[in-house]
């Protein structure tokens, strides 16, 4: 009973995507509302899931569906939700919805508005389709309770993400997308071999049954081989050092929503696999591999932090910070204790919220400044864009593990787990890991604070954004003068066409001033963002819209946080605060499930 809810979580986005293929013309005019509605319906289902979940039995799978799928191979369509997967499903539905909100509720003329129907390059229908298919894959991964079904969903995700990067990404998108898909596919193949080995040894693919068996029927050697094979596949996705190099490229090139979903959900699929498959099904293999896993995890923490210290590109820096944060998650798993795994799962959710927010912010900065290169950003964001700067400060502080915000509890519990790992593991080694991890936390604080110091503090240093530009900021916010009726060139085309950031400003559609209209001069602001990014000619493109600007300061109108951005960010901010101040919400959910999953180790 209630299994329909789990199925509905998959079918709603899937049907939504199919409908786009069946009736493209009918849906084209309402495309923005459509994506929002479908993902909103999925979110509503997830909320119902959260509301009707039986918290007293969080350790057992609920909302289960178990039907034969391919009887010849004994494959079953087996879905279910327990305390480990429930938060991840809710997070997925929420982040997808927020991405659609971010895309849909803008006024269509802002940069980065990929859903503007008129822009030829943007392919809005394909984008909605891709995101919905992505959502099916992501939610399915967290629902699946059959090894092969899990693998299928795990793989489905790759393809929409590949297109998301390859079509809507930045300049180096092709190479990044190919690297992403080849790397993760290669990992998946290894994982598939591991899963098949488990199948061959035990004769079942049922995750629940395998988890209850705690490795019975598999010799120690088999368990170790299977754990290593499955672990490599998951570690590529997580990503674990040294299998991480696809991540910075993918993040740097992906569009904002791609980065948010990649960091917020896709990385979690790897770590979820450890909690769901690798550790409970293969306990002896886990014990044998845990020291290695822990070692690679702490190397990742320190290595990621050091790499962040020397980055110039904001998005790349956040990508490397994910390597460090995922290191804490893996360290928590490596301890094989309830505390450590709890910490890992908490850090998982926290990272999804915080890094999702950080990528939203990085995207917003890139849209405004035309670059995410920190030296080019200059400084003084708190002066030019006070609210954006303040939210960026908040997100960074959350990410560096400030107690009272979500980032702290996961890392703290991971370290506490490492202080007292499960008895089968060498304690001295894990104490060393704990100390290195702790120093990594200091380095994490160092790179975030240095970044904040560089970007948000100081006087605005870039040409045109200096103090002289305050007047311009003011001009931008006035209604545009009605008299110069000429077209505002390319205000939209530039940033929307993925590779058109600097040069191809002229190719956009024409927007007459009446459309820019009596609003708040958004078009003009957007145009001048492009202008600052390029430096030279496009200032003329801004021209007519802000005709009253005195020459010389024409390229500076940066808009602070906008309504639709706030719609996408505020839920994340609220949840970061909520989980930070009241960690019990998550911990009481995961603890019973974790204790069941770790049953084979105690």
């Amino acid at each position: 009973m209630m299994g329909w809810l789990a199925v509905a979580l998959l079918t709603v986005p899937l049907l939504g995507a199919l409908l786009l293929v069946i009736a493209p013309n009918a849906l084209r005019p309402v495309l923005r509302g459509y994506g929002l509605a479908v993902s909103g319906a999925t979110l509503a289902l997830a909320v119902v899931l959260v509301a009707t979940f039986d918290y007293a039995r969080a350790a057992r799978p609920q909302f289960t569906v178990d039907r034969p799928w391919i009887p010849g191979l004994d494959l079953r369509f087996h879905l279910g939700v327990d305390g480990v997967s429930l938060p991840l499903i809710a997070l997925t539905a929420l982040l997808t919805f927020l991405c659609f909100a971010y895309l849909s509720w803008g006024d269509g003329r802002a940069p980065g508005q990929l859903l503007e129907p008129r822009a030829g390059e943007a392919r809005p229908r394909a984008l909605v389709f891709t995101l919905l298919v992505l959502e099916v894959g992501m939610i399915g991964t967290f629902l699946a309770l059959d090894l092969l079904l899990f693998f299928v969903f795990f793989e489905i995700v790759l393809i929409p993400m590949y297109f998301l990067i390859a079509i809507w990404g930045g300049k180096g998108r092709r190479a990044a997308a190919i690297k992403f898909i080849l790397y993760t596919l290669l990992g998946s193949v290894v994982m598939l071999l591991g899963l098949l080995l488990i199948w061959a040894q035990t004769g079942t693919l049922d995750i629940v049954a395998l988890g209850q068996a705690h490795g019975a029927g598999m010799s120690r050697a088999v368990q170790i081989i299977a754990f290593v094979a499955v672990g490599i596949g998951l570690a590529v996705k997580t990503p674990m050092w040294p299998l991480h190099t696809w991540l910075p490229d993918a993040h740097t090139e992906a569009p904002t929503v791609g980065s948010v979903l990649l960091a917020g959900v896709l990385l979690k699929m790897g770590t979820y696999g450890f909690a769901r498959i690798a550790i409970p099904i293969l306990p002896e293999g886990a014990v044998a591999a845990a020291p290695w896993l822990g070692a690679l995890a702490v190397v990742g923490i320190v290595y990621g932090a050091l790499a962040c210290l020397a980055q110039r590109d904001l998005k790349r820096m956040i990508a490397y910070s994910s390597v460090g944060h995922m290191g804490f998650v893996l360290l928590g798993f490596a301890t094989l204790t309830a505390v450590g795994v709890n910490g890992a799962l908490f850090a998982n959710i926290a990272h999804g919220l915080i890094t999702g927010l950080l990528f939203f912010l990085a995207g917003a900065i890139k849209e405004r400044y035309g670059t995410a290169d920190m030296p080019s950003l200059g400084g003084g964001m708190l002066a030019t864009l006070p609210h954006l700067g303040a939210i960026l400060t908040f997100a960074c502080v959350a990410s560096l593990g400030m107690p009272g915000l979500a980032g702290f509890w996961g890392e703290m519990l991971s370290l506490l787990g490492a202080f007292q790992p499960v008895e089968a593991l060498p304690r001295e080694l894990f104490l060393t890991f704990m100390v290195i991890g702790g120093l990594g936390a200091v380095l994490t604080a160092a790179y975030f604070l240095l970044m904040l110091s560089r970007v948000t503090h100081g006087l605005p240093g870039r040409a045109g954004v200096g103090p002289a530009a305050y007047g311009v900021e003011a001009v931008d916010e006035r209604p545009v003068m009605p008299e110069p009726p000429g077209p505002v060139e390319a205000v939209d085309g530039g940033p929307r066409a993925p590779e058109a950031l600097p040069g191809a400003v002229a190719e956009g559609t024409e927007v007459t001033t009446s459309e820019v209209g009596p609003g708040t001069g958004v078009g003009a602001a957007a145009g001048s963002v492009v202008g600052t990014g390029v430096g030279a000619a496009p200032a003329a493109a801004v021209g007519t819209g802000v005709g009253t600007v005195e020459p010389g300061v024409g390229a500076a109108g940066l808009r602070d946080v906008r309504g639709y951005e706030l719609v996408a960010w505020v839920p994340l901010i609220v949840l970061i605060l909520l989980f930070g101040l009241w960690p019990k919400l998550l911990l009481s959910l995961t603890t019973p499930a974790v204790q069941t999953l770790l049953g084979g180790l105690s």
Binding site: H244, L306, A383, V397, L416, G438, L443, T456
Partner: protein, 674 residues
């Protein structure tokens, strides 16, 4: 009454959020009257630029936002400030009442020396972690109750003072909200009954310290100081967290009461490890050697912040923790010896550094390090009561000194004593108040500092005769403490003379730079600034008499004579030439003292630069080695396929030859193996 600790913590916390989100609300309502006019917008722009409050109300109101005339902008800002001030001051005042009540009930038992009474408070559930649960306990025992009074009172004084001090700072609303958040976090540390909950407050204090040091972030120097303060304390805090782990796991609980109850059963190794690790956090937060370097730089923040966070409360938290867990520390002898050595080096070194500084606030900062080292020395000598007594008097007189320094800086427009002089006529109230503060700092009777310093010296004297410390450590501690008394007298006298006496050297600055307090004011200071100063002068003078006077006449006489000796030498040098800095008494030591013995340069060379170099190395490695392997595997695959492709060249002859050769091979194989 059991909920008073919770209320005292929550009120400033809520005030912080309210201050950030609500104080600018009126913008929304007024902002709709759109009027074209660039001039007003220009006048307004710098003010808006300073708005750091997150998610403020004017996010949506951008339509008419830019069309304010100058007068309207001022009016708008004034209202926002007034609102923020009320939001900040009222909850803090209520917290003062709650804290006083909590301390009044057991009759200030801790300083009076009465028998300990039952803690007041309750447990609000616990957080399961899968291992040891975290208990959400807030309670006030005798020690917490006393500290709570200090924290809330100084916070209230600083909030009121800041209304005047920052009255034309565009970022006052966010500033006062951060001060409220800090107050809440510090009260959480004080009232928490669980070590991990305490750690939460401990870290949030660090965050507030970072945000407030960087209040004038336009200046890169301030930004650097803020980052440095956060990172140095965070380094210590990692040790602190691990110390909590050791204690908590050994006791099977993170509740402080449970931990202290289990101390007798713990092994010596566990206790020494735990206390040493905790000491790292104490050294970071309380700016003790070797993690003291952040505090002088932290003076980049507004002066009221220096008074509250970097003199009276946050930096005292380390001392408080040691006193809180004193039963664990006092058993761990090696830790106590280390604490004694750290304290001895810190108190004398910082006092000497204070003697050579030209910046008035840096003098006070080094003086804070030195005085905190006194407290640490008292703890090491085995007297937690003496240390807490000095913590309280120091909190009062050092906050007073900083607030007075703020008035002086507000008046002169510079921090440098070489630009001050002869101010006793222009600032009579401040002069009297600051004289009280300096007297307390030097330990001149009847000011409060005299009694508390006497209690500390007495404890160190007794430690010589035998106690927790080894002889060498006790001797070093007592010797350094006596020498520091003299140096303290010297630097206090120097600062007093250079500021208030001699010829005036004030130079009017042309324009206030961003990042400095605003310049020359004609009057002494607004009433909101003078009132807290006058009120703080009372405890700074009289707090020593609380709980009865316990004096050891011998020690007291020695310390007063030493302090006067130090002051006398400085006075003699100053009389000789009132214009030149009497710090020349240090001779060749002056430059090393001014640079604080080059510790900063050492750390930069040993830690900061290697880490950055390592970061560069990691990036290069990541590109060439780790990713190089990935790209290399791709290239290798393509290379291999290139070799294979040679066979697929479309030459039919080659294909047929290949087929024939294959058939031949199979045939031979079949014949041979059949």
């Amino acid at each position: 009454m059991t909920n008073f600790p919770l209320l005292a913590v929550l009120l400033p916390f809520v005030a912080a959020f309210a201050g950030l989100l609500l104080s600018r609300r009126p913008y929304l309502l007024l902002g709709r009257r759109s009027r074209p006019g660039v001039a007003g917008a220009k006048a307004d722009a710098p003010a808006r630029s300073g708005d750091t409050s997150a998610a403020g109300g004017d996010v949506f109101g951008t339509g008419g936002d830019a069309s304010w005339t100058g007068g309207e902008a001022d009016e708008r800002r004034r209202r926002a400030h007034a609102r923020a001030a009320w939001i900040a001051v009222v909850p803090t005042a209520v917290s003062v009442v709650l804290a006083l009540w909590l301390a009044w009930a057991p009759g200030f038992a801790y300083i009076v020396g009465a028998a300990p009474s039952e803690p007041v408070g309750s447990t609000y559930g616990s957080i399961i972690t899968g291992g040891i649960p975290i208990s959400l306990t807030l309670q006030a025992d005798d020690l917490s109750a006393i500290l709570g009074v200090l924290v809330t009172l100084v916070a209230l004084a600083v909030q009121v003072y800041s209304v005047g001090y920052l009255h034309d700072d565009p970022r006052y609303p966010s500033y006062s909200a951060f001060v409220s958040l800090f107050t809440s976090a510090m009260l959480l540390v004080v009232y928490s009954g669980d070590l991990l909950v305490l750690y939460v407050g401990w870290e949030i204090m660090g965050l507030c310290s970072y945000l407030l040091i960087g209040h004038w972030w336009e200046d890169r120097g301030n930004s650097r100081a803020a980052v440095k303060a956060f990172l140095v304390t965070r380094l210590g805090d990692v040790g602190f967290l691990f110390g909590i782990f050791v204690l908590g796991v050994a006791a099977g609980s993170f509740r402080i009461a449970d931990v202290l109850a289990k101390v007798p059963e713990m092994s010596m190794g566990t206790l020494v490890a735990a206390t040493m690790l905790l000491l790292a956090g104490v050294a970071g937060k309380s700016a003790q050697v070797p993690l003291h370097t952040w505090l002088p730089d932290a003076m980049a923040g507004p002066t009221p912040i220096s008074a509250l966070i970097h003199a009276a409360t946050m930096v005292a938290a380390g001392i408080f923790i040691v006193a809180r867990l004193f039963p664990a520390f006092v058993v761990a002898r090696p830790t106590m010896d280390l604490l004694a050595v750290m304290a001895a080096l810190g108190m004398l070194g910082a006092a000497l550094a204070a003697l050579a500084q030209d910046d008035l606030k840096r003098v006070l900062a080094y003086s804070t390090i030195s005085q905190l080292a006194y407290m640490a020395g008292g703890l090491a000598a085995g007297s937690d009561r003496a240390a807490i007594f000095h913590l309280l008097t120091h909190g009062a007189f050092k906050a007073l000194l900083f607030l007075c320094a703020g008035v002086v800086i507000h008046y002169v427009g510079t921090n440098l004593m070489s630009r001050m002089g002869g101010l006793r006529r222009q600032l009579p109230v401040t002069f009297v108040a600051m004289t009280v503060g300096f007297a307390a700092l030097m330990g001149i009777p009847p000011a409060s500092g005299f009694f508390s310093k006497d209690a500390l010296l007495l404890a160190m004297d007794r430690a010589l005769a035998g106690g927790v410390l080894t002889d060498a450590a006790a001797l070093l501690l007592y010797g350094c403490a006596l020498a520091t008394v003299a140096v303290t007298g010297a630097y206090a006298a120097r600062a007093w003379l250079r500021t208030f006496f001699g010829p005036a050297r004030a130079v009017a600055l042309p324009e206030p730079e961003p990042g400095t307090a605003h310049v020359v004011d004609v009057r002494e200071a607004p009433r909101t600034m003078l009132l807290p100063v006058v009120l703080l002068a009372v405890p700074a003078l009289l707090l020593g008499f609380v709980g009865g006077v316990h004096l050891d006449l011998g020690v007291a006489a020695v310390s007063v004579v030493l302090a006067l000796l130090g002051a006398g030498v400085i006075y003699a040098f100053w009389r000789g030439d009132p214009v030149t800095d009497p710090a020349r008494v240090l001779g060749p030591l002056r430059v090393p003292c001014e640079r604080a013995f080059y510790v900063d340069d050492l750390y930069a060379a040993v830690f900061a630069r290697p880490v950055l170099a390592l970061a560069g190395l990691v990036v290069r490695t990541d590109d060439t080695v780790v990713d190089g392997a990935v790209r290399g595997s791709g290239r290798a695959a393509r290379g291999l396929s290139g070799v294979l492709r040679l066979a697929q060249n479309g030459n039919v002859q080659l294909y047929v030859s290949g087929v024939l050769a294959g058939v031949l091979l199979i045939a031979v194989g079949a014949v041979v193996f059949a």
